[in-house]
């Protein structure tokens, strides 16, 4: 590809663009930014591809790394940057805070997908990226560590905490959903009573 083989570049693009685009999309929650990030990633590969060192990780990890850096640059620029301070959510990580009930058990598939998506988008950026890389994009811990530029142990601990936080958020979403469902049911009951009363009159 570096020698100018367009078909090799096209093949690489076809193989990797989806993952890069989706990663950027979920990190920024913006399709236009995700397009820009994908564009920038492959442009950087085109211009500075010789900087890629296979000894330091896979090409996929290299591309995700470029995408991640670009995403954080753009997030900083747009002042939507979420603090990387891990202690911000630290108070939640006690065993007592972990409820054993399954927040997804009563949801349909579509509801589950939407609930998980919302929960992921509500995660702080440094937790969100490990969930996206390891659970949605199926990168290994080593690859994710290479992308983020941290130790494998850091990836493990962040992922563990991120999943606990996800469950908490899903429970919160469930509770909100349950309240809404109850409100909806009570309104329906009120409407039924009202119609019965009218019929009686």
């Amino acid at each position: 590809m570096l020698a100018g083989d367009a078909s090799a570049f096209a093949s690489l693009y076809d193989r990797c663009q989806g993952g890069i685009y989706r990663f950027a999309l979920r990190m920024c929650d913006s399709e236009s930014i995700a397009q820009d990030v994908t564009h920038d990633v492959f442009l950087a590969l085109m211009r500075d591809g010789e900087q890629y060192d296979p000894a330091r990780g896979t090409l996929v990890a290299y591309l995700y790394g470029i995408a991640r850096n670009r995403v954080f640059q753009l997030l900083k620029r747009e002042r939507n940057f979420v603090s990387m301070d891990e202690d911000a959510e630290e108070f939640m990580w006690t065993e007592a805070a972990i409820a054993p009930d399954d927040p997804l058990v009563e949801l349909s598939r579509n509801e589950t997908i939407e609930a998980v998506r919302q929960a992921i988008m509500a995660l702080p950026a440094h937790y969100r990226e490990v969930v996206l890389l390891c659970n949605l994009h199926e990168l290994s811990y080593e690859q994710a560590a290479s992308v983020i530029g941290c130790a494998v142990g850091t990836v493990r601990s962040r992922l563990h905490r991120a999943r606990l936080l996800l469950l908490e958020k899903l429970r919160g979403l469930n509770e909100v959903g349950a309240i809404r469902r109850k409100e909806h049911e009570s309104k329906a009951e009120d409407a039924t009573r009202l119609s019965r009363a009218r019929f009686a009159i």
Partner: protein
């Protein structure tokens, strides 16, 4: 296995990331004995299923096809530019040097054209900016001593510029000996020895007269050349060029009357690259 150790590997157990090994089996055994850990494992599995479902759902999101087209165009132009750079400027020569070499090539082409035109008795040929070309035997000519080599009158095998002008009127073929093959010249002499000898003597007379009249500066080597381009033989081309063009070549000329046409002799190597230049008055 303790509950703490189980908690550390629960994500891998739930997502199926952990390969079946001794610790994997130990983890499952712990979950079978500990109700709380078993419940947590079920929750983690449910979350993994939810994440997997989202991952499958997300696959429909892809970058726009236009983006691919844009990138392919960018890729093509990027590599085209790189290739052009390699072809145009080998060995990191500057653009100015390349332009000078191109100019010298053009001058050579004009010279050859002029020599062809002189074969037909067209009076307008005299208006050409290149007046004459003279072949040189420059075996001793080295790039470092242009000035001495050329002011010492190199072995000229043909006539001087103005003499050629006159010869043109007498016999067009005789004035550009460099352009005429040696065999053809011999044949011509054999067929018409008297006329050719007359022309030659006339030319010699004009040369002598002209060399006295003309004032020539020393040859100035064109400094962009290096010793690797030293020439073994070449030609001297008499040209008429605007003063500003010569100044652009780096000659120290007064730019007043920049359009004024002045005469100059340029030494061209076999490769068409100009090696030195002198002014003629």
């Amino acid at each position: 296995m303790s509950c703490q150790e189980f908690a550390e590997m629960i994500e891998e157990l739930a997502s199926g990331r952990r390969t079946r090994d001794a610790s994997h089996d130990e983890g499952l055994e712990h979950a079978a004995m500990c109700a709380r850990c078993a419940a947590r494992l079920e929750v983690e599995r449910s979350l993994s299923l939810g994440l997997n479902a989202l991952a499958v759902e997300e696959r429909r999101h892809e970058a726009s096809p236009l983006l691919k087209r844009e990138l392919m165009d960018a890729f093509a132009s990027h590599h085209q530019k790189a290739a052009q750079t390699v072809v145009s400027f080998p060995r990191r020569t500057s653009y100015a040097r390349f332009a000078m070499a191109a100019a010298a090539t053009i001058i050579l082409a004009v010279t050859l054209l002029a020599s062809r035109l002189t074969r037909t008795p067209a009076p307008t040929a005299m208006a050409e900016s290149v007046i004459a070309a003279t072949t040189l035997n420059l075996s001793e000519f080295k790039s470092n001593n242009f000035s001495t080599a050329l002011t010492a009158k190199p072995n000229v095998t043909t006539s001087a510029p103005v003499a050629i002008k006159k010869a043109k009127a007498l016999k067009p073929q005789a004035n550009t000996l460099a352009a005429v093959p040696r065999d053809k010249r011999k044949t011509e002499r054999k067929l018409n020895p008297v006329k050719t000898e007359n022309a030659a003597s006339a030319v010699a007379t004009e040369v002598a007269a002209n060399e006295v009249k003309e004032i020539k500066s020393d040859f100035v080597p064109l400094t962009y050349l290096n010793t690797a381009t030293a020439m073994e033989s070449g030609i001297v081309v008499r040209v008429e060029v605007a003063r500003e063009k010569l100044a652009a070549l780096g000659l120290p000329l007064n730019l007043e009357g920049a359009d004024e046409i002045i005469k100059a002799d340029i030494v061209l190597g076999d490769d068409g690259v100009a090696r030195a230049i002198r002014l003629v008055q």
